[in-house]
Amino acid sequence: MQVNENKEFQPLIVAFCCNWCSYAGADLAGTNRLNYPDNIKIIRVPCSCRVNPMFILRAFQRGADGVILCGCHPGDCHYTSGNYFTRRRMTLLFSMLDFLGIERDRTRVEWVSAAEGAKFAATMNEFTEAVKKLGPNRRLEDLRCRKQ
C-alpha cells in the first residue's frame, strides 16, 4: 500500500477466520462495538484447516502486508482436529517464509473462540501495530500484479 510522507503507512492485512469460532468471535467483537483497524479484511473459511498455504502466499504476492489465520482453540475444533492440521502446516509454512527472509511478524496463527470478541479485537489491534512497524511487504509482492 502507498506510503505518503504526511500519512502513516496503512498496511493491508488479510485475516482468514474459521466459520465456527473465529468468524463468530469477529462478529461478537462487532456486536460489542470493539474497535479494530479497518486494515483487517476478513475471509470466511469453514475451518482453519481449509486455508491452503498457497492462499497465504497468494495474498503476499498480491501485495498484502500481513496475513493472520484464526481458528478454534486446540481441542475445540468444530471438525474435531482441523486446527491441529493448521498448526502443523503453518509451522512449516512460516519456517519456509523465515528462510526466505520474510519477517516472522507478518504472519500469525491465533486461536479465537466464538466467545472471545475482546480477544479478537485485541489481537487485530496488536497485529496491525506489529505489521505497521515492519512497513510494506516488498519481498513477496509481485509488482506485475499491482493495479496501475
Partner: protein, 663 residues
Amino acid sequence: MQRIGVFVCHCGTNIAATVDVKAVAEALGREPGVIVSQDYQYMCSESGQNLVKNAIKEHKLTGVVVCSCSPRMHENTFRNAAASAGLNPYLVEIANIREQCSWIHKDIASATEKAIILGKAAVAKVHLNAPLTAGESPVVKRALVIGGGIAGIQTALDIAEAGFDVDIVEKKPTIGGKMAQIDKTFPTLDCAACILTPKMVEASQNEHITIHSYSEVADVKGFVGNFTVTIKKKARFVDETKCTGCGLCTEKCPMKKVPNEFNMGFDNRSAIYIPFAQAVPKVATIDPNNCMMMKTGKCGVCSKVCSAGAIDYKQEDRLIEQQYGAIVVATGFEPIKLDKYDEFAYNQCPDVVTSLELERLMNAAGPNGGTLLRPSDKTHPHKIVFVQCVGSRCDDSKGKPYCSKICCMYTAKHAMLIREKYPDTEVYVFYIDVRTPGKNFDEFYRRAVEQYNVHYIKGMVGKVTPRSDGKIDVQASDLLANEQLHIDADMVVLAAAIEPDKTARPLATMLTTQMDTNDFFTEAHPKLRPVESATAGIFLSGACQGPKDIPETVAQASAAAAKAIVLLVKNSITCNPCVAHSDELMCNGCSSCEKVCPYGAITYIDKEFKMPDRTIAVRRVASVNPAVCQGCGACTVACPSGAMDLNGFSNSQIIAEVDAICK
C-alpha cells in the same frame, strides 16, 4: 456471462450511519458482471426480500451478493428468498458490512472504502459459485439424552410423549440429579422430592424410555440424523434385571463407613448401596473401592443375603452401541470446589458449609431427619451467616466471572425456612447485589426481609475464623453504614458458584460442539436459537448451557425436546452440500486425504478410465461420501495433486476473494 445483482442493506442506521451505502452500491455496480446494484433500508424485511426476488426474476440474475449483517445471521434468509425466486440458493453470497465494518469503525470514509472492498470480494467469489443441490440422508428415530437430572428427565418425557424412543445416560447409579438433593424449591417452597420423584418414576415406567444409569458416553460418531454412540455401562456388580431393590444387602453389608455422597458426606453409607430411598432404578450398586470382597476377596455377605441372586462380583464394564437421530446434552452443574477460599475457613471448620450441604442438613431425609443441627457438635445454631457470591462475579482467576443466578433466591429460601422453623435463630445475609428477576421472585425476597426479618447487609465477608469456644467469628464490612462488623456465628453458609459438570468438556469434544471459556455449552444463537448447539442434531437442555433455576431448566428441557422432535419426525434431512469432491482425472489415489479426514468420509474405489490410446486403465481414486463429509476442507489442503476441492469454498473462490481484497 454472469448476471450479478448486488443488494446493500442500511440495517436502519446500523450500517448506514458509518457506511455510505449509496456509494457502496454505486461502486459495486461498476464491478464486472454486476448488472443491478441497489440499496434498501431493511433488506431482510419482507419488502427487502421481495426486492431481491423481483430483481432475480426481472434481470435473470445468475448470482446475488447481499451486503448486510453477518452470514451467520441472515445467510439462510437470503438463500431461501433466492430459492423461492428460482435461483439456486448457493448462488447467494453475503458481504458482512455490519459486524465486521460499520459496527467497529467510526470514520465514514474508511469504513465505506472497506465495505466496498468486502463487497468486491463477495462479487469476485459469486462469479465462481456453482449451483449446489443438497443430498438427503435418513433420520434414525431415536434420541439420546445425556444426563438424568430434571433437565434430562423432562426432555426424555417430552420426546417419549411424541412417540419416539429415548435413552437416558446417567453417570450416577440413579437419575434425579441435583434436584433430588434439594429440600424445598423457591418461590413456592414446595418439596423438591415431591415434584421430582413422580417424574423419575414416570420416566422409568414409560415404554419409550430406556434408562442407562451408572453409564457414560464413551464415543460419538456420525452426524445429524445418524449418530452412532458407544455407551459404557460401568460395572455395578449387581445384575440390574434381578435386583429388586429390597435393600437387605445394604443393611447387612459390614462396611458401613463410606461417606454418603448423596448427603454430602454428613453421614455414612455401606459399600453396597442404593443412593436414596426413591432412587430410579432402585438397584443396589457395589462401590469397588470400599467393598471388602473386592479389595480382599473375603466377605461375600451381600451375595449370601440376596435372595434374588443378583450379586455378581465378576461383572465388567460393558460397551453398547446404538444409533440415534438426535442427541440432547443435559449434563448440568456442580458447585465449585472451595479449596482456594481459605478466608472462609471451609476446609478448617465443619460448621462452615455450602448451600447444597445446607439443603441436606435441612432435608427430612437428610442426616438429621430434618432438624437443623451444627455438623460439629449437633447443637442447634442460633446465629447463621450466609455469604453470597462465593466464587461468582469474580474478577480474578480464583472464581468465575459470571453470576451463578440461583444463589440469591435459594439463600432467601434458606433464610426464610430457618426463620420459619426456628424463630429464635438470627439470620444474616451478606450480599453484593440481590438479583431477583423472575416471576414472584422479588416478592419472595421481600418477604424474607420484611416478614421474616432476615438481616440483609450489603457488603463482603472478609474473614471467617473458627474460635476455640465453638463460635465462628465473621469479620465483614457493611458498605451502606460504612462500618466493620464482627458477628459471633454458629454456622456460616457459603453460596458457592456453580460451574458446568467436569464431564462436559470431554463430551463437547466428542460431540464436536462449542463451549465458552467457562465450559458452558454454546447455543447456536444467543437469542433466536437458545436450545440448539451450533452442531446440527445436538441440543442443549438445562444448566449445561448456563446457570439456571428449576423452572427455566424445565422450560429449556421441553424446548430442546421440541427441537429434537422436529428433527425426529422427518424421514430424511437435507445434507450440507458444501462438501468435498475429488476430481478423478487428477486424483492419483495416494491416500493423503483419507488420513486427515476426521469423519472417515473418504474411501477409495477402482475406476476405469478410457486412455487416449483407447485402452482402458483401472486406477484407484478417492471418493467422498457426501452424507458423511462435513465440509471442513482438511483434505483439500492435504491433496498433493490438487484434485480435492470443497463446494462453496473452492480454491478458486478463496483465491478470487484474496485477489479482490489485495487489489
